[in-house]
Symmetry: none
Subunit: 431 residues, 2 copies
């Protein structure tokens, strides 16, 4: 079954509101094996809504609308659906009674426009709204069915889960589709995609790449007979091909993985930051319960603080400046020792937009210190995103991801850069 989404509201076209409802619906439907093939936003105009609904039902068997069901005169979804069905709007006595009861319960008089919420296109079905006042509507049109839901996210989600999804499942005899998202860090999208070419060719398997700074999420979809088996086979092959760069699945973010690995070892980590300004600490404390695994951090932004607060040798700073692999190592070891943590992370580098002390933007050194070994240091090659203002934000975010990934590898005893696809792989590509 193909479904289209229609979101109604001028505020979405003006960009005052981001269309989170469409994202939530797309995800929810995908999780239930229903394919959303198009998502449209239109403004508060009856004729435009009528046209959009009609066009959508020419392509798909069902349309889910959100918005335009409130009491004000720019809420026009009801009117549009009545017009599309060629019927009148009629006042539903039960809905009218409910409005009166609600108003009495909060001791307010009903405004005349409130009665609009008791009007429904003649013959429409009411979708029970256990989270609010106005129900959703089901309108059967020649081309298929329209489910009209309110724009208030909580109400929309409630009606969707309690009423619409069970109905769609029954109507559609849904195909077996299995999905899973694998998460990778520290490797480029093009490298991932090239390595996984053979998986893309597997029968009934589809891959989508969702890149973030220094991360790539791989969404694997398997359909048809034995979808679950196909998905498992695809995942197993992907893990063979990518090796240790796969750090988690589904919503298991890198900070969660690191938190879990630390908790399993009853270990803690401390962070010594410069260019990231505190973002590594912020990431390591995003999880509830992070006080069990994160001791604290030092942001040594001024160079002399690297010596004073972290014990980085002054001679090292004098000779090489702050941007140097040995400085990252000394920061990691220093913060670990001074804060009494099991592990220490240290980062130094150039976030831009200008080069610093002769080092180009994107030069970053990351050190991880731990029990029983000398600090590991990596210098990821960060691609510099142009010359715009957002360079700093992207370089800083990539640095956070690489730092957490190095910590994860240290915790698991993996090589610092195994599988990330660098010099060796490049040479193979050339040859």
């Amino acid at each position: 079954m193909r479904v289209e989404l229609l979101t109604v509201g001028d505020e979405l076209l003006l960009g005052d509101t981001v269309n989170g409802n469409a994202a939530w619906l797309g995800r929810r439907l995908a999780d239930h094996g229903v394919e959303v093939t198009r998502s449209v936003v239109v403004g508060d105009e009856t004729d435009v809504i009528v046209e959009a609904v009609t066009a959508a039902l020419g392509r798909a068997g069902a349309v889910i609308t959100t918005g335009g069901l409130g009491p004000t005169y720019d809420d026009l979804t009801r009117d549009a659906l009545a017009k599309a069905a060629g019927v009148a709007l009629v006042r539903d006595p039960a809905l009218e009674r409910r409005l009166h009861e609600r108003a009495e319960a909060v001791g307010r008089a009903l405004q005349p426009m409130a009665f609009r919420m008791a009007e429904v296109p003649e013959g429409a079905g009411l979708l029970r709204n256990s989270a609010g006042t106005a129900p959703g509507l089901r309108v059967e049109l020649p081309g298929g069915v329209v489910y009209a839901l309110p724009g208030v996210p909580f109400e929309m989600r409630t009606i969707m889960d309690e009423v619409v999804l069970p109905e769609l499942a029954e109507r559609a005899g849904l195909p077996a589709v299995e999905r899973r998202t694998l998460r990778t860090a520290g490797v480029w999208e093009s490298v991932v995609a090239t390595r996984l070419a053979e998986v893309e060719a597997m029968d009934g398997v589809r891959l989508a790449y969702l890149p973030d700074p220094a991360e790539v999420k791989i969404r694997v979809t398997a359909a048809g007979p034995d979808a679950a088996g196909r998905l498992a086979a695809a995942e197993a092959r992907i893990r063979e091909l990518l090796g240790p760069v796969v750090y988690g699945v589904e919503d298991e973010t890198l900070d969660r993985v690191v938190h879990r690995l630390l908790a399993e070892r009853s270990a803690t980590v401390a962070a010594a930051e410069s260019l990231t300004g505190g973002l590594i600490g912020a990431e390591l404390t995003a999880m509830p319960g992070s006080s069990a695994t994160f001791a604290g951090g030092v942001v040594a932004y001024a160079t002399e603080l690297k010596a004073r607060l972290l014990g980085v040798p002054e001679g090292l700073l004098a000779e090489h400046g702050a941007v140097h692999p040995d400085v990252a190592a000394a920061m990691a070891e220093g913060v670990r020792a001074r804060l009494g943590a099991t592990y220490g992370v240290g980062v130094t580098g150039v976030a831009g937009p200008e080069p610093q002390d002769g080092h180009p933007v994107g030069t970053v050194y990351i050190g991880v210190a731990g029990p029983g070994y000398s600090p590991i240091v990596v210098s990821p090659r960060l691609p510099v995103p142009g010359t715009g203002r957002e360079i700093r934000a992207v370089i800083r975010r990539m640095t956070v991801v690489h730092a957490l990934e190095l910590l994860r590898r240290a915790l698991l005893g993996l090589d610092a850069d195994a599988g990330t696809g660098d010099a060796r792989e490049d040479r193979e590509d050339r040859g």
Copy 2:
């Protein structure tokens, strides 16, 4: 001029990505007086993109697409535009050279699929991308013009601002509309809206409220004859009615204002954080040039580190625990002294989702220490956003805003909570 947006990508239909690009574009175009009349999302299928572009140009004079310009085989916008125009895809030698140069600069070989990014529909115009590798495209079709932009937000935004908006303005002869955004911190949206009722009634003036955690942006739009004069009058009255809660205009974020105020005074700040985990330091280093005003920070997440790293009296911590106004004051003073900064900020509190040591979620104390006075401490009333997972993120973000706002007020010698509309205003509301 009517413009439609077309966003391309399975990940948007699946809800893996929220359509922030469409919201940004809608906003940007509205700010320039251009009306977005529809916004459509389709998946990665050439024929569907062709159909959607063609249908959009049947209704509007211009279409802006985002997404589908990357190197992988599911990036199909180029192919679709060539098909819609009835031309071939050709490889652009200058683009190809640029790809090689970029690859050499980072010491990597080009994957074969990367060359897709050098292909353009024959006759298409290239839109300069100063923020990335692949340019945008301008394709003239019978019904109007298509601007194809990458899906990576900062590249999309750069090309839009530098190339597309000036072109559209020239093509369209835009109406006289003046807009300005005033930024406030630490005050609730309902308080702002109630105070500004008389401005909403001013002739030809429209207000829109854009709330963020602990911030409200007020977008003032004036239209018609003497739009600039109307805008100035509205702004003046808003500033009278709101007083010191207006901290900046347009893209002058709170961290920029604080950075400027510090720089003007040749002063520096240091941050002592707990629940925010480093976010205050991260915010104070988001600006290029922040090393002149930000000394560094200490994230004392574990309670004993508050004593050891910041000199918070152990007796105070033993008696009251870590969540106490005197602890915030001592953290601010401690980090100021130990890092040798002009100002110190200290925050302690409960980010949730669970209460801590008997303090409810959202209990936050913020201290600012500076030269010649005892630390100021405030405890903003943070509204707890429901019971979901995002409580921590929102509480932490609100804490950052309140901390920067208190620092701004300290720098300007303003009262810590003048004009934020608390107990007194609530009483008036009740009465």
